[in-house]
């Protein structure tokens, strides 16, 4: 089993793509059910964290800008770490992410964690 980082990103800039507070409230159960399902398979290595949309980016020469990057509208909204046999399984798990079906277009990046062993 390897560990895979699932990074959730969404467009936090475009006005019409923002979930309402009611949308946010309604999205809690599907997310919890999805993560609970991964945990029930004993494949959740870390329940990670959710992140606020705002952020800063520090660039060389003490340049600090308001993140996310100006060129892309997507910001990291959160992450979890799962255990999977291979990339295929991790990707299959990522496909279950309820954010993918949401009108505010969440996408999931899957990265294999380098193990120390």
């Amino acid at each position: 089993m390897d560990e895979f980082l699932l990074i959730f990103r969404r467009d936090t800039e475009t006005k019409e793509n923002q979930p309402s507070p009611a949308d946010m409230q309604a999205s809690i159960k599907p997310w919890q059910d999805w993560i609970g399902g991964i945990a029930a398979q004993n494949k959740l290595a870390s329940s990670g964290n959710r992140l606020h949309p705002e952020g800063k980016v520090v660039r060389p020469n003490n340049v600090v800008i308001n993140g996310p990057y100006a060129e892309i509208k997507e910001a990291i909204g959160g992450f979890i770490i799962v255990r999977a046999a291979d990339f295929d399984e991790a990707v299959e798990m990522a496909k279950g992410c309820p954010g993918l079906k949401a009108p505010w277009h969440v996408n999931v990046e899957v990265k294999r964690v380098i193990s120390n062993a």
Binding site: K29, Q32, D33, G36, G37, A39, A40, Q41, N42, L44
Partner: protein, 410 residues
């Protein structure tokens, strides 16, 4: 209370108190001396009370005799005394001056110190439980053997090894400091939780003994709540959980000591007083920011005290299991979570999730699949129940699975 009942009763309530105080006084090195003195005290009571009748204040009598026997022992074992004098917390070299404090405060302090001594991870969890039953609950070796479904010899050896280990590690019997409480409270709670489970889920047919184990575990948790330093939300959460579980004790076993499944239980037998207590301790537990697995389990147990099958109930249970599994995975929590998922979100979704669990050596897994497929694909349901039947060991489990198959066949 008649003499016949009084002495066993006092043995159960007072033996452990005097033992705790003497152990606290003597230190871990002399646990057996403490036990001998107290056993000897009860022996004297048995002999004298049958001849002269029960004294006016039986407990006071036991305390006085125990104190005198302790002083005598210290007098006649000068080597013991000399060695002990250095270690004795009271610092008195002369045995005549040693004060043996059997006030309720001293008893509680000593018992608290003993809980932290006994629940020490340097000895195995089985040994911790056996030692807790012996020293903190006043259970005899035979009773402990019955609870563990093993022989007296095994328990005797287990207790002795545990005591020797505590001595070798020089574990102190003392009031835990705030830091020690922070570091060790989790271990203590785990042991007390397992002590409770030993009674609640034991395969022993001895219902009285099983109830005793649960009651003792609850008493020890309550002892922690009575102490200001250990009265923490997590401790209240554990007691709440125990109250909710214990409220169903009468309803979940038939007169043969066999388990009656939740949905078949007579709710009139649920103990409302314990349910109210559970709610009270759950409220106490909700202070602070730390959400422990006991909080989540108490929440799940709370929902189970609500008999009515509502979506709110089952989604409540599902969400608590979702979080519990994120804190600590266990196969049984995974299976129960999937059952709640079926109740809250429907069987179709639950079947997909259930098949991912792949707990193929667990008969509960196949029973769950059988249950989920019932009414959707009865042939598959029966196949799963038959696999469960092959894997199940106990008679009760086999009978339950057999009933499920028959229900489909009807």
């Amino acid at each position: 209370m008649k003499e016949k009942e009084l002495l066993p009763h006092l043995f159960r309530t007072e033996y452990r108190k005097i033992v705790a105080v003497l152990c606290y006084l003597f230190g871990i090195e002399h646990i057996e001396t403490a036990e001998d003195i107290v056993s000897d005290t009860f022996l004297s009571a048995t002999e004298l009370w049958s001849q002269k009748g029960i004294p006016d204040n039986p407990t006071g009598w036991l305390y006085t005799v125990a104190k005198n026997k302790t002083k005598n022992h210290l007098k006649h074992h000068s080597i013991f005394t000399q060695k002990l004098a250095v270690e004795l917390k009271y610092g008195a070299a002369d045995s005549e001056e040693i004060e043996i404090d059997l006030s309720s405060k001293s008893i509680n302090d000593s018992q608290l110190a003993m809980i932290f001594t006994v629940c020490n991870p340097c000895i195995s969890i089985e040994s911790q439980i056996a030692l807790a039953l012996n020293l903190l609950c006043g259970f005899g070796i035979q009773e402990i053997a019955d609870a563990f479904l093993t022989s007296k010899e095994v328990i005797y050896k287990r207790l002795n090894r545990a005591k020797e280990k505590l001595k070798a590690e020089k574990i102190k019997i003392e009031q835990p400091t705030a830091t020690e409480i922070d570091e060790r409270l989790d271990t203590v709670l785990t042991t007390l939780y397992l002590l409770f489970s030993e009674g609640y889920y034991s395969t022993s047919q001895n219902t009285v003994l099983r109830k005793d184990l649960c009651a003792e575990a609850m008493r020890l948790v309550y002892l922690l709540i009575e102490n200001i330093d250990t009265n923490q939300p997590v401790v209240n959460a554990l007691l709440s959980l125990m109250c909710f579980h214990a409220s169903r004790f009468e309803a979940r076993l038939n007169d043969k000591g066999e388990v009656i499944l939740y949905e078949d239980q007579d709710t009139n037998l649920w103990n409302q007083e314990l349910i109210s207590k559970g709610e009270y301790f759950l409220e106490q537990a909700s202070k602070g920011n730390y959400l422990s697995k006991y909080h989540l389990e108490a929440g799940i147990a709370y929902w189970h005290t609500q008999k009515e099958d509502t979506i709110q109930k089952w989604d409540g249970i599902l969400q608590l299991y979702n979080r519990l599994l994120q804190i600590e995975y266990s196969p049984i929590a995974a299976l129960n979570r999937t059952y709640a998922l079926a109740k809250a979100n429907g069987k179709e979704e639950a079947i997909i999730e259930a098949e991912k669990l792949a707990l193929t050596d667990n008969h509960f897994y196949y029973s769950l699949l059988g249950n989920l497929y019932t009414g959707i694909d009865d042939i598959k349901a029966i196949q799963h129940f038959q696999t469960a039947l092959k894997l199940a060991q106990s008679k009760t489990d086999k009978a339950t699975i057999q009933r499920n198959i028959e229900k489909i066949m009807l």
